[in-house]
């Protein structure tokens, strides 16, 4: 079945089993490997993308549900929050292996778009779905706060 949607602003059409999770469509069909596989069951957050601006776990999002939607992945995320988050991440060297960080960054951008000045509890709420096995959590928290401060100017 042909399914059409926009990815990072570009129209795309794929002809796959409509149950195929968006994750595998992005990675295998479209070659967008920035979105990561970590668990396949919405437990780790590595596969987080935006569907019409809302963060979603692409590993449990059947591609048929996003027909006509706008998808944003780590390769295409932009705007003031994204820039501030990416900059903060680099500035304090958040990543270790980096594998989870696409998902962490997508969740963090979504958080800042929602709440410009998040508390620790807000951060817990938005980021608890994202596992980092290297355990960079202390820096993730700090980088989110730094990005929020930068956005406030």
């Amino acid at each position: 079945m042909a399914i059409t949607f926009n990815v990072n602003g570009e129209p795309r059409e794929v002809d796959v089993d409509p149950n195929t999770p968006l994750l595998w469509v992005l990675r295998d069909e479209l070659g967008l490997t920035g979105t990561k596989f970590g668990c396949g069951v919405a437990q780790c957050g590595a596969c987080t993308v935006f569907v019409d601006g809302m963060p979603q776990r692409s590993c449990v999002t059947p591609v048929e549900l996003i027909n006509g939607s706008d998808i944003t992945t780590i390769e295409g995320v932009e705007g003031p929050e994204a820039s501030a988050i990416q900059k903060a991440w680099v500035e304090i060297d958040v990543p270790q292996c980096g594998y989870c960080q696409s998902g962490q960054i997508m969740s963090a951008v979504a958080l800042l778009r929602d709440i410009s000045d998040p508390t620790d509890e807000d951060i817990d709420g938005a980021m608890t779905g994202n596992i980092c096995r290297c355990a960079t959590y202390v820096r993730i928290r700090q980088a989110i706060k730094n990005a929020a401060a930068e956005l406030k100017g």
């Binding site: 295998d28 992945t73 780590i74 990543p95 596992i131 959590y137």
Partner: protein
């Protein structure tokens, strides 16, 4: 010095076919090993020299300068979050006096005859390669200086390399590294005595912590390529269902329904070799498809009857009880001095405790995955491999092709922690590529596959007994450890732990007690056991450091003071036969027994530093407590203070952790901090929530809902890393950094829970024991 085209410099570039066009041939020779010889008087090799293929330090192999001035530096160790792709090239660049912004990092393929040992494991990369990297950078700097001196026809002593150019001081003439590249390549590599290393005061990057990770931009923009991200246009995608019980195999299977799934191309049966499985694939049934999802769907449709084999009754409940029973009986004595039995008899008080840790999985967020391709009899593999040479050697055997015809390309690793030092998944990819006439095939392990077929950290019962005198000071110490051995994956019938496992915090216990005996009880493995970050240091430190705190309580003493008293006065300990009762001499992480003697002064110091920094002894509100623990591992010293808060329902939060580390010279302090932060939280994870259990030979936790990992909400809110006693000369022996942060965390945490609640927890994880 040679020129090199710029187009070979991508992240996962294969350098094996890189053309060095200038200056090679007769002038190439390898610099002799270590400034401080790492050979003992016994002629025995230690450290990097004792590793397979040893150390290679030929600047012509590792460094090149292009005519545009780009310096390319090869990283031959695998990047898995420890920052080695940044730190090791940074060392070379510093001695070369290169401008970091003009340095490109090239990842080496698996080729130890060329690069020296590449097995990125055991917290060894910087420890073994710091001095060789310095010498290579310094040798190349000398060659550039000689080239400039020759150009200007002046003595080399009159010129100096400074930040990517060579300057003639007297006349102010300058030549950039790029301009000198060609003529420098014609210089011979200077002999050791002509190489002058920088003085630490001249360092630009070493010890400064100013250099960000070289992969940061790619990581934060989704461009970084891990093994699982490898792609080819005509690539096929595979998943495998492996025997659910270690040692099992397929009895019969029917692939009819699987083959009907759209996209499924082929179903392949893979042979299951009988245990011990070493690094070989486990076999099973593979489904090859046009994308990962189709392969997974096809796999779900397979109809398989298994022959579960001899481990089908493995249940960790029963195994735990058996280990506990074994731990009550005398075991094989592995270290002994004094007379423990006599001292126990006359002791004023005797304390006994048993500690338990379950199996623990690596849970790298990038699961094992690899791509293989076979073209014209040549096999190329791409994978997140900690030990690419191990992969290459086994691929040669598996495929029966020449060594030169196997190329193992190392991608970024999405976490390693020891799992990816086993290349079984790369071998699977090669077998499946072969099954489809050499087309590229990517094997992806789903999370379920990863947790069900990991090389798990061992499970252990640690039995401790102490006799205390009337003042509460221990006069006798008995430690009996029971745990299945990693060596069981290499040979059948293994019942005891190997010297390297006993040497991780068990026989090398650095306590000052007059009578001591360490024993090892029998245990046979029923699953694949492997290295997990800090390995058997986890159970040993957990037991010993918990027990010290228990003794402090029994003696009515402050745990920190008591710990320091037990560590005793500063002294250097070298374990020797016959006090050590193992077949081999003291393992000591492969390092020289005198150069790297156990230094109790350093252990005391990290303990004192962390106690002071955490304000040990401070008043805390009800429900809060501090716990302390110290441990030496990977020839580095760490101590931690964990602060916990336990609410009425038994829920634990961790407001703060302090950790002090003394790893000798600190090369990239920022990476040491980040490794410690990660290790602290992995320690919290294994102490509080994570475990792997078996029933009927099969793992019960199949995803992150069962194998829980600490998430941001439960992570310590603050982690303070204290880098202790930096060696300003940078000549002292280096300690490891990747692993030593883990061992003290679990005991410090349970000691803190005891301080907060009076509840002594001796089994990990503590999650289910907090409610009552």
């Amino acid at each position: 010095m040679t020129t090199v085209a710029n187009d070979v410099l991508s992240d996962i570039t294969n350098v094996s076919r890189r053309a060095f066009t200038l200056g090679l041939g007769a002038s190439v020779f390898v610099l002799a090993a270590g400034l401080k010889p790492s050979f003992g008087a016994d002629g025995q090799a230690y450290g990097g020299d004792a590793m397979p293929h040893g150390l290679k330090e030929d600047p012509l192999v590792f460094l090149s300068v292009a005519e545009d001035g780009t310096v390319s530096i090869i990283c031959h160790r695998s990047e898995m979050g420890q920052g080695i792709r940044t730190s090791l090239p940074m060392v070379m660049a510093d001695e070369l006096d290169a401008d970091w912004s003009r340095v490109k990092i090239v990842q080496a393929p698996g080729d130890e005859p060329t690069y020296g040992n590449q097995n990125t494991d055991g917290s060894r990369s910087m420890r073994h390669h710091f001095q060789p990297a310095r010498r290579m950078g310094a040798a190349a700097r000398r060659m550039l200086e000689e080239a400039a001196a020759k150009t200007w026809n002046v003595p080399v002593e009159e010129v100096e390399a400074v930040n990517h150019e060579v300057i003639h001081k007297a006349t102010g003439r300058k030549l950039g590294y790029g301009a000198l590249a060609k003529s420098a390549a014609e210089m011979s590599v200077p002999p050791r005595e002509k190489i002058s290393l920088k003085k630490p005061s001249q360092f630009r990057y070493i010890g400064k912590g100013k250099i960000g990770l070289v992969d940061n931009f790619d990581i934060t923009t989704g461009r970084a390529k891990y093994g699982i991200d490898t792609r080819f246009d005509d690539m096929l995608y595979a998943v495998i269902v492996r025997p659910p019980v270690y040692g099992g195999k397929v009895a019969k299977f029917d692939a009819t329904e699987a083959l009907k799934v759209p996209g499924v191309v082929k179903v392949v049966e893979l042979e299951s070799p009988p245990p011990p499985s070493e690094f070989q694939p486990l076999g099973g049934i593979a489904v090859i498809a046009s994308n990962t999802w189709a392969a997974i769907q096809g796999r779900d449709k397979l109809d398989i009857t298994w022959d579960h084999g001899p481990n089908a009754s493995y249940s960790t409940d029963i195994y735990h009880a058996d280990m506990r029973a074994t731990a009550q009986k005398p075991g094989k004595v592995v270290r002994s001095y004094g007379d423990v039995d006599a001292a126990m008899k006359t002791a004023a008080k005797r304390i006994t405790a048993d500690y338990y840790i379950p199996h623990h999985a690596h849970g790298t967020i990038e699961p094992p995955a690899a791509v293989a391709r076979i073209v014209d009899g040549k096999c190329d593999v791409w994978g997140p491999l900690q030990d690419p040479q191990a992969a290459r050697d086994r691929l040669v055997k598996l495929l029966g092709i020449a060594y030169e015809d196997v190329t193992v390309n190392v991608t970024l690793l999405g976490g390693g922690f020891g799992r990816k030092s086993k290349p079984d998944f790369a071998l699977e990819a090669a077998l499946l590529s072969k099954a489809v006439d050499g087309r590229p095939v990517k094997v992806t392990w789903t999370r379920e596959d990863d947790l069900m077929h990991d090389y798990l950290n061992t499970t252990a019962v640690e039995h401790l007994e102490a006799g205390l005198d009337a003042d509460g000071k221990p006069v006798a110490w008995l430690h009996r450890s029971v745990a299945p051995s990693i060596t069981s994956i290499f040979k059948p019938g293994v019942k005891y732990e190997a010297p390297f496992e006993l040497g991780m915090g068990l026989v090398d216990v650095p306590l000052d007690v007059p009578n001591l005996r360490v024993e090892n009880g029998e245990a046979e493995a029923h699953t694949r056991i492997g290295w997990f970050r800090s390995v058997t240091n986890v159970p040993h430190a957990f037991a010993i450091q918990s027990f010290v705190a228990e003794l402090a309580t029994a003696a009515g003493r402050d745990p920190k003071d008591y710990l320091l008293e037990l560590i005793g006065p500063p002294r250097r300990i070298t374990l020797k036969l016959p006090e050590l009762k193992t077949d081999d001499p003291w393992w000591n992480y492969g390092e020289h027994p005198e150069t790297y003697a156990i230094d109790t002064g350093r252990l005391r110091r990290v303990t004192e530093v962390v106690a002071q920094a955490s304000k040990w002894g401070r008043e805390l509100p009800k429900g809060r407590g501090l716990g302390i623990a110290a441990h030496r591992s990977f020839v580095t010293y760490t101590a931690a203070v964990v602060e916990v808060e336990v609410d009425g329902g038994g829920r634990i939060t961790i407001p703060r952790v302090d950790i002090a580390v003394d790893c000798g010279p600190q090369i990239n302090p920022e990476r040491i901090r980040s490794q410690m932060e990660g290790a602290v939280i992995q320690g919290v994870s294994l102490a509080t929530v994570s475990n792997i259990t078996f029933r009927d030979g099969q793992v019960e936790q199949t995803n992150f809902d069962g194998f829980e990992l600490t998430r941001i909400d439960a992570a310590p809110r603050e982690i303070h890393v204290h880098l202790v006693a930096p060696d300003e000369t940078y000549e002292e022996p280096l300690g490891g950094v990747g692993e030593p942060g883990v061992p003290p965390i679990a005991p410090a945490l349970v000691n803190a829970v005891f301080a907060a609640t009076g509840k002594r927890l001796r089994e990990l994880p503590i999650r289910d024991q907090m409610a009552s």
